[in-house]
């Protein structure tokens, strides 16, 4: 018997197939680390997704209970290892809040510049890896090339390229270097002579001027690529209610149209860092932006991706303002903090806006230098929990597209 159907997908439901359990991960390239998704599939349709996490669990919270604050900082680097600076900041601010430490103006400006640079590096890699998930290889290479220069600049500041431990309780470990040899990666791209002495701030400015033009190219390469739009627009639409209920934050929440950014809405100890800076917070559905493809639905994969891309532009803007303020800033880059400082019998919780969402640190003191409880609340942990409802009833090939758009980082989820 043959039937004429307008929608070829209906065949899928006509043919009786057995349900099959498919393991995706933990060593699957598009799971961004060691995430295992257990899929219950019927043909190409996914009926149920169960994420299994914990493969990268390194007991960071138990370790934190046995170390003093400054000793715990290197462990926070290894949580979200693509945004180590932002993790350092969240942890340092939580201790500063608990101990009533006021950071000098210069340290605050250093923190803004460094954190926004790390946000760019993290979002660039997020963009490249997402392209890779969807089968487009070249954006990944461009993204890594740009990220490399930020890592070069970080290396000049603190000596490390991935796990920095640079922002610490009381400020930052070093001031920006006065003079550095011109980074060879940046020199090759901008036509400067490599190795010539240049001030660190000037090198950052040269990089930002160059990067700003590249962002337009990424938009033509990926954002408005019709294959990319077909794979992302209208797919994995997350409603604002569901995003809030599942505790989603950061670009995932703003992609669903909820205007919440802790740089503006957070606690005073954090927001005062950003006082007087001029920046926008991109929120779906991007009112006034005429270049949005018509297939896009608020809260879909494309919106989450686009929020990140727009945040890169805002971060460039923020770093420039920070560099303008830096030469005239008062105070030192840090105030001394003893490793054996005893914590009071008190507790505090502080969230900061990390690239992937609200990273929270909850510290309970009991009179010792080591906290009684050191809790790191991960943003990706909450963002990942929405996978199960989001992937219900989608095609198998769309699961990596949806999980990739959440931009998860397993090091932070498993801690």
């Amino acid at each position: 018997m043959t039937t004429q159907l307008d929608d070829p997908r209906i065949i899928e439901f006509d043919v009786r197939t057995d349900e099959m359990l498919v393991n995706m991960g933990p060593q699957h390239p598009s799971t961004h680390g060691v995430l295992r998704l257990l899929l219950r599939t019927d043909g190409e349709i996914v009926h149920e997704v169960t994420p299994h996490i914990g493969y990268l669990h390194r007991c960071a919270e138990k370790v934190g209970e046995n170390l003093s604050g400054p000793q715990w900082i290197p462990y926070t680097d290894r949580m979200d290892y693509l945004a180590g600076m932002n993790m350092n900041l969240g942890m340092a601010l939580a201790f500063e809040k608990l101990l009533n430490i006021e950071v000098p103006e210069k340290a605050m400006i250093i923190r803004v510049i460094i954190c926004e640079m790390n946000r760019i590096a993290s979002h660039l890699l997020g963009m490249g890896a997402y392209g890779l998930d969807l089968g487009s290889f070249s954006p990944f290479l461009y993204a890594l090339r740009e990220r490399e220069i930020i890592l070069d600049l970080f290396e000049e500041v603190c000596g490390a390229r991935l796990t920095y431990s640079y922002l610490t309780i009381g400020g930052a470990t070093h001031d920006f270097p006065q003079s550095i040899p011109f980074p060879s990666g940046l020199a090759a791209l901008t036509g400067h002579a490599p190795g010539e002495p240049v001030s660190w701030s000037e090198a950052v400015r040269i990089f930002l001027d160059w990067l700003e033009h590249r962002i337009f190219e990424y938009h033509t390469l990926l954002t408005r690529n019709s294959i990319f739009i077909k794979r992302t627009a209208g797919l994995g639409a997350l409603t604002a209610e569901m995003a809030i209920s599942y505790g989603c934050t950061g670009p995932v929440l703003r992609g669903s149209g909820v205007d919440l950014d802790l740089r503006r809405d957070g606690e005073p100890i954090y927001t005062r860092m950003y006082d007087g800076y001029d920046y926008e917070i991109p929120v779906a559905p991007f009112a006034g932006d005429l270049s949005i493809p018509h297939e896009v639905v608020p809260g879909d994969n494309w919106c989450r991706f686009y929020v990140r891309m727009k945040e890169v532009n805002q971060a460039i803007h923020l770093i420039r303002q920070g560099l303008d303020r830096y030469p005239t800033a008062s105070g030192s880059h840090r105030i001394p903090f003893k490793m054996t400082t005893k914590l009071p019998k008190d507790e505090c919780y502080l969230e900061t806006e990390a690239p992937r969402g609200n990273m929270g640190f909850y510290i309970v003191g009991d009179g010792q230098a080591e906290p009684l409880r050191a809790r790191a609340k991960s943003s990706c942990f909450c963002n990942l929990s929405v996978t199960a409802p989001l992937c219900q009833g989608v095609l198998l090939a769309d699961v990596p597209a949806i999980v990739g758009s959440l931009d998860i980082m397993m090091g932070e989820i498993d801690r």
Partner: protein
């Protein structure tokens, strides 16, 4: 924008649930907190989420804390009585205000070591509480009554013990892997 103060929220909850359920308001802390009786945490959670002037729609953090000192040298100086706490950090996107709820539990149910303290789940109020409660069960050892799927989340399913309990000791051996 400013939202309600913690005193206002405390009075509102006190009028609704009474002193039996809303135990105390603690303001001498960096983050003031309200202590709630274990039995009524689910109804208090539903109330603070659905009341329009409170509207705590975002559960930022849910965790357990083990207040206990194992070292005999330090136990005299330890400033807390031994107990376990469950902490809820809430935020309202509409009113931009914060709230901390706490529930005090015994370290072991009925003072029987090994029996986990019990508390009703709030996973039907906030979706994310599902995973946070699984983590608190896994690491701190708190049993959430009525949770749809209370299994370990970070540790393997056959792991023994709850690592964030203060008296926890690393196992000597796990599937042929040498421990301690």
């Amino acid at each position: 924008m400013a939202g309600m103060t913690v005193d206002g929220i405390y009075q509102l909850l006190l009028n609704q649930f009474g002193e039996e359920q809303i135990r105390q308001l603690h303001t001498e802390s960096k983050d003031p907190w309200i202590e709630v009786a274990a039995g009524s945490i689910a109804s208090v959670a539903e109330h603070v989420k659905s009341t329009p002037e409170l509207a705590f729609d975002l559960l930022c953090n849910l965790t357990g804390v083990d207040y206990f000192e194992t070292s005999p040298k330090l136990v005299a100086k330890f400033p807390y009585t031994p107990h376990v706490e469950v902490v809820y950090h809430l935020y309202s996107i509409r009113h931009r205000h914060r709230l901390v709820l706490k529930v005090h539990l015994p370290r072991w149910q009925d003072e029987t070591p090994g029996r986990l303290p019990e508390i009703p789940t709030v996973s039907h109020v906030w979706g994310i509480a599902d995973w946070h409660e699984r983590e608190a069960f896994d690491l701190v050892g708190i049993h959430f009554l009525g949770h749809p799927n209370l299994v370990r989340i970070l540790c393997p399913d056959d792991w023994v013990g709850h690592p964030l309990r203060k008296e926890y000791e690393l196992p000597l051996e796990y599937h042929g892997i040498r421990g301690k």
